[in-house]
Symmetry: C2
Subunit: 172 residues, 2 copies
DNA sequence: GCGGCGATCTTGACGCCGTAAAGTATCTTG
DNA sequence: CAAGATACTTTACGGCGTCAAGATCGCCGC
């Protein structure tokens, strides 16, 4: 993606974007921020969803991965910016704190809220698993397995079932 | 990273690399391939390592993440190429099949070798977790937690303990 | 009503990039 | 030693991110 191409598509000169963003990176940051907000909203919506047959954590996991799979380019921009700044988005930076949301879901899933270290480790585990699966799910070599299981959703759920924290109920 | 910069560093003209690689991408593919071979060797070495206090799967997980942390640029090249071709490296493409290695370790860890679907799901889960953690572990916000646990290795181990398949012994 | 001003855009330029074509030097081999 | 392969250079093209210098236009206070 080139800034000049964006300007062309918008029907303006190549230098026009510089009156709205300091440079290309700042444009991408703005896009990423909107993306995190959108993902945060989807996670919030997923958590109050009724009739789900997932455990509360698996639900946010599947929602996270589905978001990444439905907006692959956006998700890439989002995560690449995080990697550049070496930090996950939190409320301090203006977005709605998807990371906090994971911790909340973990407490709801039965983790001890007073065990701060355990909670943090579980949050990292959950986010790692979701992000990792989001990146793995796009590989073609899993298509047969997805077909065999009856679709991508079942595949995601099957994978999450192999990860302790996503299993039904409080941690072993 | 620019091809011209590589040529400059090697003391040759900008066009010289084109006599060894079709284009920039092919150079990166070659680098990635060497990377996967190196990682495969490290995983093999880790598995025969004596005196380890990890479960067999956690050992390969920690080794995988440590490799990614020690060679972040290389790991990025490796994974980015995989994402482009939408496939993990396997023996068919000439390298030593890191993916097969994970499946082998899973069987050694006690999974039923005849349950092909379960084995495949577990392999995806393990690889997702390792890749996800490799990408998360670089975030600065976890530094306090790492310090509190006594180093990055303990941090990694703590996270893996929260993921079912990495826990000691056969799956729950 | 009008002068100025800020916002928004254009033009043109700079240096860097990936890549291609054509030419040159060096090394190998019959 | 001739001939061809190998490794490299030079030159060039178009695209990129970015910047400085204007141009245009709508709005506000006088």
């Amino acid at each position: 993606m080139s800034l000049r191409a964006v300007a062309r598509e918008a029907g303006v000169s190549p230098a026009a974007p510089y009156h709205h963003f300091k440079d290309k990176n700042e444009l991408l940051e703005a896009i990423a921020e909107q993306g995190w907000d959108l993902l945060g909203d989807m996670l919030a919506k997923a958590r109050i969803e009724s009739g789900s047959n997932y455990g509360p954590l698996a639900l946010v996991g599947v929602t996270y991965v589905r978001f990444a799979r439905e907006h692959p380019a956006l998700y890439r921009v989002m995560y690449d910016r995080s990697r550049d700044r070496e930090a996950l988005p939190d409320r301090q930076h203006g977005h709605n704190g998807a990371y906090d949301r994971v911790r909340t879901a973990l407490v709801q899933a039965g983790l001890d809220p007073t065990d701060l270290v355990g909670l943090e480790l579980a949050a990292v585990a959950a986010w790692s698993a979701a992000h990792g699966l989001a990146e793995m799910a796009c590989f073609k070599q899993f298509q047969p397995l997805k077909d065999q299981l009856g679709g991508e959703e079942a595949f995601l759920r099957g994978v999450f079932e192999h990860m302790g924290i996503f299993a039904e109920g409080p941690k072993r």
